[in-house]
Symmetry: C2
Subunit: 380 residues, 2 copies
């Protein structure tokens, strides 16, 4: 008998109530029954995004909405600034390249952030930059980027939009779409929104809609204008929506509203802090210089392979965590505290980590990480 615990940064555990909602007999989408659900979901998403802008829902994974953000606003030959310090920041560059958009990259070391001043310098130097693409929480390194500070710099520039990949951050890290001047905020269903993967979201500001008027890049399935029209005029999507996931999302959003968005964020902050305190008490080091509240990246200690930690946690204890990607393979492991996660998930993860480290011969004082984590959690 092995119980499985999902502590990965997406997919995250789907609450029973949402799973039950998804599993109801499928309904037809061209009905008022579906429209009522979809309109409510689209409104409730605004609470999570902290925006008054329309939030579009696409049947795709998050990358689809990232592609849409590029294809709907830019034209071939346009210049964009990309802040990249990990696998997902790099995805913005890849998409720009695939579309013939010139990406000016601010490359920061993985685990680090770009100082807002560096973004400002680039924009001052190059007024042709039409869009700045960044990441709220870089999942590959567990790093929170200073989105608010970037927003202050970009919002003053009438010809530059600010686009944020908040896929793994939304619902865990504070994301004030409107207050921070974020023109397009992209998200996915399988992270803080607690639903299986298959839905992508994008909130779009007036400034971005205006830029969209001039965009000549090819788009069809991810046409934001069509999606907005369909949503606003009919409570519909232009193409068949992922009905069961949207029904499940309705339930997950009810849970978020019942808890209160600010409480959701406070919960994540506390769970993240407890996790960080626990791993530090075990003598481990955090990988990120700016740790996010969605996922904690931990350096594998000297002489222990990060891949082995991940594998032992999984095979022996049923705890799923993520390893390191690209050049960080074997060097770090990543414990998520994201979505449908509470006190005893952190405790469980910490206990399993202690046992795993002991198994792998790392000198660990059993209970030390647990104590430190519990100390933080007791403040709840």
């Amino acid at each position: 008998m092995k119980k499985i615990y999902l502590l990965t940064p997406g997919p995250t555990t789907v609450p029973d109530a949402a799973r039950a909602a998804e599993g109801q007999p499928i309904i037809h989408h061209r009905t008022t029954e579906f429209e009522d659900i979809f309109k409510r979901v689209s409104e409730d998403l605004k609470i999570v995004f902290k925006t008054q802008n329309p939030v579009l829902t696409l049947a795709a994974s998050g990358t689809g909405a990232m592609e849409g953000a590029v294809a709907n606003t830019l034209s071939a030959g346009d210049k964009a600034l990309v802040v990249q310090g990990g696998k997902f920041g790099a995805r913005w560059s890849e998409i720009c390249e695939a579309y013939g958009v010139e990406a000016v990259n601010i490359d920061v070391e993985w685990g680090d952030i770009a100082e807002p001043g560096v973004v400002k310098e680039h924009l001052d130097k190059d007024p042709d930059i039409k869009a700045v693409f960044t990441t709220l929480c870089e999942t590959s390194t567990g790093t929170l980027f200073p989105t608010k500070d970037y927003g202050e710099i970009i919002r003053e520039r009438p010809n530059t939009i600010f686009v944020v990949d908040a896929i793994s951050g939304l619902g865990a890290c504070d994301m004030e779409t409107d207050a921070w001047g974020v023109d397009i905020c992209v998200a996915g269903s399988q992270k803080g929104l607690m639903i299986p993967p298959g839905l992508a979201f994008a909130s779009v500001s007036e400034k971005a809609w205006k830029l969209a008027e001039t965009s000549t890049l090819h788009k069809y399935y991810f046409n934001f204008k069509k999606a907005r029209k369909s949503l606003e005029e009919k409570g519909q999507t232009p193409y068949t929506p992922a009905v069961s996931l949207i029904v499940g999302l309705g339930k997950a959003l009810e849970m978020i509203k019942a808890e209160g968005m600010d409480n959701v964020l406070k919960r994540h902050a506390l769970l993240a802090e407890a996790t960080r305190a626990g791993v530090k008490a075990l003598g481990l080091e955090l990988f990120s210089k700016s740790p996010a509240n969605a996922v904690t990246a931990v350096k594998a200690p000297e002489g222990v392979d990060g891949g082995e930690i991940k594998k032992t946690l999984d095979k022996k204890y049923g705890i799923k965590v993520a390893g390191g990607q690209a050049h960080l393979k074997g060097k770090i492991f990543r414990i998520a505290h994201l979505g449908f996660i509470a006190t005893f998930d952190v405790i469980t993860g910490m206990s399993a980590l202690e046992l795993t480290l002991k198994d792998l011969g790392y000198p660990v004082e059993l209970g030390k990480g647990l104590c430190a984590a519990e100390e933080v959690l007791s403040r709840a």
Copy 2:
């Protein structure tokens, strides 16, 4: 107490076993557990498609794979031939237009088909045509197009690929992808595959892969080459897959294999024939000149509004059917017999139709449609 019966041409009823599979706790996709499922699903799809080519699975609705078929094979300024006689045929033209591909349209009256000779004429006249886009079953009119005959004409031409939208037809109408020389066959999850919407599929032939080498249209999320590489090398998808739908699909494909693909098609043929016999016995006329086995389009009788038929079936009897689209609004209604559908679903639909027609003042001899349908069904 009202029981709901879904007789719409997608979404179709999801079998309990598939719903239960979807509703299991979510698993992480970067695991051998998921890879095993995904590889098996990808192989099993070949049985449904009747192909040896790789079948790609995308997190999107069917339209996403249609867009992919255009974006991965063509370049701006290329010429394509589109056979269109309904809403979904027209979608090929729209996608071509959105991508700067010149669509040469063969426009046939809705409900009719294009004779293969017409396709041949166009190709003879215009050897620059790089792709022919058609529809297996045009859902908006319930029409089966002669895919096999088109294939015979196109397969001889080394520089022209044959692309078929089989979204609503696959699993109900015979579709011999390889035998008929179909280079890209596109499908969706919510029709004959009996799963909620959110997955799109495309099988891709060597001829199409070769053309893909020269394609310069922009693509990222729907990049077929990346999807193939990821599938073949790792049993993975390049971007997060719609895990729960794929798990459900695994179960639905098991059901299809247990029944046997040819039996699945025979079942659909019989249910469709019974439906046609029933509506004709009631004095109603079929709309299509070439009725498909996925959905039957029926002309609303003189003096009765098709929209009222649809509405009464729904509101009074809990039977969901589709109405007419575009200029056919109010003129036809469409009863699907597609996916997880058996004898008594047709009987139920027929009974409800008789009761509805009586309610609306159409002179109906109760039981006449039922008798005719049952007569056909008794041959099973």
